[in-house]
Every structure is written in C-alpha cells, then in structure tokens.
Amino acid sequence: MQWNTETMTWAVVALLLFAAEAMAPGAFMLWLGFAAAAVFAIVLVIPGVPVLVQAAAFVLLSFVSIQVYRSWFRGREPRSDKPTLNRRTEALIGSVVPLERAIVNGHGRVQIADAYWDVTGPELPAGTVVRIVSSRGMSLLVEPAV
C-alpha cells in the first residue's frame, strides 16, 4: 500500500465526481464516482497496475456499479406521494360524474372541468351518474354509480 500520483489522481477524480453529482444531480456521475473510488482502492492495494488496465477497470466498474444499483436498490425506491402527477386519466379514476351524452354502442361523453372526455361502458342514458373505473388510452371506462 503506497500513496503516489496515481492513487491521488483517482481519489481526486472520485471526489470531484461525487461533488459534481451533488451540485448538479444527473445520476450518471454518481456511478462514475463509485467506479473511480473502486479504482482508487485497487491501485492503493495493488501498486503498479498499468494505466490502460486502470482505465478499463474504471469503465467496467462504472457499469458494475450501475448494475449493482439496478439489482439491489431499484425496488426499494420510495413511492411518490402523488403517483398520478401529470397522469390526467389516472387522476380521474374514482370520480363520479353525470353522463353528458348517452353511451350508445359503447361510446359516450362526460364533461369534467371544461374538458370533454370520451367514455366507454354499458349502454346508459344521458344524465346517468357514472363512476370512472379505469382508463384505456384516451377514453375512460365507466360503470353506473349506485
């Protein structure tokens, strides 16, 4: 184990990358930072590793760190407290509205806050109060609200 220019360089690169990630979060510099930190550990433990091998190890370890994150941490991300943000159709599910136009041949129309939405569901006359149960593409699936 010995400190030299190479180890110092990798340590600085790792810290710079972490700092860059902290300043401008874009995620990808984080993995590069981990890789740089790993290469720093390698050259610290095994002196005399060729520069080409170091570079190759850095690139390889970058992808390894990404893969490690994907397999280990992906499912453990905290859920958003507003999962329907920017998802207009999903946000409407559960709301109860009257039919503005009768459902004929499976297609009708409702008005929700100025906008007109196509709805699909069982044949119902206009004015029936329906509940939106799900969305399919641009149209909403409804059932009569009881």
Partner: protein, 324 residues
C-alpha cells in the same frame, strides 16, 4: 506519452459517454420515448432509467404538463359578411407521449391550425351579433371538434377560449349608435305610455266623480220628494186632527190658531230690517176678538172638573207642528 496512455484516455472518454448514454434521469412533468435502433419500444416515466447504450436511445422528450398556447389573431368572415378579428388561447395536455411523439409532426403547428380553422368554421356559421354574444357556444363547439381531431395524437384539449372578437371600427360605431337609438326608442315609448296611462286615470277619476255627484243629486231628490210626501202626509193628518177637534169641540179653537198665526205674521213684519214703514189695514178689534176667543177657550177648558174631563177628550192638545 505512450500508446497505452492514449488508449487509456480514449477508453475513459468512451466509458464516460457510454455511462452518460446508459443512465437517464427523466424529470417530473416529462416523458421520454425510447427507441431501439430508431424504432420506438417504450416510454420512460419520470425518474432514473438505465438503457443499454448504443442499442437503445432516447427518442423524443415530451412535455406532459398542461400547456397554454396563444392562437394568433385572424380575420374571420361571419355569416352576414362582417369581417372580425378573432384571437384565442388553447390549453392542452399530452396524455400519450408516444402518439404525440410519432403520430404527428410539428404538434403545436398542427394544433394551432386545427383551432384556427375550427374557429373560422364556427364563426362563419353565425351572424355577427350571434358570434359576439354566443362566445361560450363557440368555445364549446371548437373545443369538441378540436378535441376529437387531436385524439389520434394522444392529446387532450382541455379548454379553448376566444379572447377577443373585434368587429371593424365603423361597425362598432354604428352598433353603438344602434344601441343608443334603441334605448331612446324605448325611453320615448315608455314616456308616451306613461302619459296615456295618466290621461286614462284622470278621465276615469273625472267620470267617477261625475257619477258620484249625479248619484248624490238623485239620492237627494229622492229624499226631498220623500220629505215632501211625509210633510204632506203630516199636514193632512194635522188638518184631519184639527178638523176632528173642531167637529167635536168649540169653534173658538180655530180662533186660537188664527190669532197665533196673525200675531206671528205681524211680528215678522215688524222685525223685517228694511221695512221701516208698514202700510197695512189692521183691525185690532179682530185680534182682540181672537184673544177673547182664546179666553173663552181657556174658560171652557179650566171651568169645571166635569167640563175639564169633557174638554180633555174633545179638544186634544194642539199639534206642535201647527203651533210652532
């Protein structure tokens, strides 16, 4: 600098670029489409994503937030050939990023043209007056049409508002004049109606007054006639009573009445304010004779008890009407 050093630098660059291509962070409010060798495969929602570099790439970055777009002012001809300037505003939101990315080129231009043509259609089917007053109707009509048309593009048009419908200057002026004339007409009519109503009311009042007056007169006449009838009746009765009294009693009773009337008439003559001098044949002896008659009457009445009883039945007390 050796070959290995150059290779190292190249390797580092390539590695960094590959990582950059592999790790993608989609910000909230956007969705990015992913293409595999140029062909759409799926859409990335907000958050961290990993793509196999070179094979997969980001295609379009679609804004999923509701967006507002100004519809530039355009000249529109109404049904009655008036040229109006119309501008508006459109609110829309992308619901399907892939459709918005690939089903339409130049999304905003497409929406704008659709809205503009539909506004022209909607206003072109209405008169100028209608298009100015039925703005909500036009909005709804354009909205439904545009919304339907943009469905294949994965778009939801939430709202279309006509900001301004501006008729030409001279038309606005004449419209103002028309409105003013209309108001004046209404005012004049109202005034005339008021006058008419007032006249009618006044005539009605006069009629009512005349009727009431006539009725009053009629009633008064009736009552007067009644009074005269009643008076005649009373006089007849009094005469009857007097004649009865005379028939059954003393002739001196008449003398009493005559004497009373005579004195009364004489008194009235004497008291007349303008009559200072009275030329009248007067027989004092006649009056005295009458008085003697009264005395005899009194004597008869107060003479004896039997006589008194007789007198009370025969000569009733004189009627107050005649005596007064």
């Amino acid at each position: 600098m050796g070959l290995s050093a150059v290779l190292s630098v190249v390797l580092l660059f390539a590695g960094v670029i590959l990582v950059l291509k592999a790790v993608r962070m989609v910000p909230q409010g956007y969705e990015w489409t992913v293409e595999r060798f140029g062909r759409y495969t799926h859409t990335m929602d907000p958050g961290l994503h990993f793509l196999i570099p070179i094979v997969y790439g980001v295609g379009r970055k679609i804004n999923m937030m509701e967006q507002v777009m100004d519809v530039p002012s355009q000249d529109v001809i109404t049904k009655d050939n008036a040229v109006v300037k119309v501008d508006g505003v459109v609110y829309f939101q992308v619901l399907d990023a892939a459709k918005a990315a690939y089903e339409v080129a130049q999304l905003e231009v497409a929406i704008l043209n659709l809205v503009m043509t539909n506004i022209r259609t909607a206003i072109g089917s209405l008169d100028l007056d209608e298009s100015l007053s039925k703005r909500d109707e036009i909005n709804a009509r354009v909205l439904v049409a545009v919304d339907q048309a943009t469905h294949p593009w994965g778009l939801k048009v939430n709202r279309i508002e006509l900001k301004d419908i501006q008729p030409p200057r001279d038309l606005v002026d004449s419209m103002a004049r028309q409105m003013k004339a209309e108001r004046e007409k209404r005012a004049n009519i109202l005034e005339a109606e008021g006058h008419r109503q007032a006249e009618i009311l006044r005539a009605e009042g006069e009629k009512q007054a005349a009727i009431l007056e006539a009725e009053g007169k009629r009633e008064a006449a009736f009552r007067e006639a009644e009074a005269r009838e009643r008076l005649a009746e009373a006089e007849a009765k009094a005469t009857q009573l007097v004649s009865d009294a005379i028939a059954g009693g003393n002739v001196n009773a008449i003398n009493y009445f005559v004497a009373q009337k005579y004195i009364e008439a004489f008194k009235a003559l004497a008291e007349a304010p303008n009559q200072k001098f009275v030329m009248m044949p007067m027989e004092a002896t006649g009056v005295i004779g009458s008085l003697a008659g009264i005395a005899e009457l009194a004597k008869n009445a107060l003479g004896s008890d039997a006589l008194a009883a007789q007198a009370s039945t025969r000569t009733p007390p004189p009627s107050p009407r005649l005596g007064g």
